[in-house]
Symmetry: C2
Subunit: 159 residues, 2 copies
DNA sequence: GTTAAAGAGGACTAAAATGGTCCTATATAG
DNA sequence: CTATATAGGACCATTTTAGTCCTCTTTAAC
C-alpha cells in the first residue's frame, strides 16, 4: 500500500489547520477539537512536529504552536520525515549499508533511484498546497528534473 | 518511512531474478537458494505474485514459475500492488470514501493527487529496469506528464 | 508568590499488521 | 505409482503502531 502511518496523516491535517491561520498560536486542545481527534494524540503529534523543527512551541499560559516557516517552505517530505523518519522505500535506501542480502539482491541501486524520485516529488509538495481546501482547476507540471533512472532499451512504458 | 514491506522487497528481488533468465521455469526451491531466503517465504511470495497474474505457474514435476509478460511490461506498481494491494498514501486515496474525518480533514484531495503522482512514477519503472545489475550511466528523464498538482501562488519550491 | 494553563518527555498498554512456518490437497512427468 | 511441484490456508510469534497517562517545567496573570 505504500501508506503513510495514521500519525503522519494526522500531522498533515494538523499542519494544514495551522497553516490556514498562521498568525495565531494554536493549542493542542484547540486543534484536537478542530480536527476531531483525541487531545492526547494530537498532543503527541504536535510534540513530534515541534521536535523536528516544523513547529515552534511556547509553553505556559497563552502558549501553543506556530509554524516555524511559511507554509510554502514546509514540504510534504518534511512532515513525513518528522513522524516516520527518513523517506525511503527499502531499508537500504538510506541506512548504513548493512543489508546482508546485498550480493543476492541485485535491485538495491534501482530502488534507491526510485526512492529518490519519490523524495523529489514530495519535496515539491508544500504545506501551502496541502492546506488548500478544494481541488484546484489549474494544473501545474511537476518538475522532476533531478530524477534519473537507468535506461533500458525501450522499457519505459507509455500510459 | 514510506517503506515497502519486506515481502514486497523479496518479491522485487525474486522477480528480478526470474527476469534475468526468463526462458526457464524457476522453482521456489531454486529461487530460495539464489536469493538467500528461506524456502517457505519465497514460496509464499511466489504464490502471491502468481495469484495476481504476474507469474504463471506450472505444477507438478518439472514445474515452476515463469513471467506472464515481458520484463518491460511488468511495472514496479504491479509488483507492489500484488503484495500490498492498491497503492495510495492514505486510506482514503483509493477506498470507498468512508473516512469519518472527511469534513475536518481538508487535505484528502491533495493527498490523492500526490498518490496518483507516485503511482505514475512507479508505473514508469519496469521490471526490466529493476533487473539491471548495476547502476547505469545513461540517465533518462522520467516523464510525469499525467501528474498535475494544484497551483498555489509560487508555492512550488525549487531545489 | 500563587495559581492556572500549557508544552516536554517518557513510560506503558492494547491492538493491529507483518513475517514466517507448516500442513494438506492437487496436479504433472516419468 | 511415485517423486516433485504448486495451491491454499491455518497458525503463531514478533514487531510496529496507536493511543493514553503521568510527572515535570515553563509562562502569564493576578
Amino acid at each position: 500500500m505504500l501508506k503513510l502511518s495514521k500519525l503522519t496523516d494526522y500531522a498533515a491535517v494538523i499542519m494544514a489547520q495551522i497553516a490556514r491561520d498562521p498568525e495565531q498560536a494554536h493549542t493542542a486542545a484547540e486543534l484536537a477539537v478542530r480536527v476531531s481527534l483525541p487531545h492526547p494524540t494530537v498532543g503527541k503529534t504536535l510534540k513530534m512536529l515541534s521536535k523536528s523543527g516544523l513547529l515552534e512551541s511556547r509553553r505556559g499560559s497563552h502558549g501553543g504552536y506556530v509554524l516555524s516557516r511559511s507554509p510554502a517552505e514546509i514540504t510534504a517530505s518534511d512532515i513525513i520525515a518528522a513522524i516516520e523518519g527518513p523517506i525511503g522505500m527499502t531499508e537500504c535506501s538510506h541506512a548504513d549499508g548493512d543489508c546482508e542480502l546485498m550480493d543476492t539482491c541485485g535491485v538495491a541501486d534501482n530502488w534507491q533511484r526510485v526512492s529518490q524520485a519519490i523524495r523529489t516529488l514530495l519535496d515539491c509538495v508544500t504545506l501551502a498546497h496541502l492546506a488548500q481546501s478544494g481541488p484546484l482547476k489549474l494544473p501545474v507540471q511537476l518538475p522532476i528534473q533531478s530524477v534519473t533512472l537507468p535506461s533500458t532499451t525501450g522499457a519505459v512504458r507509455e500510459h
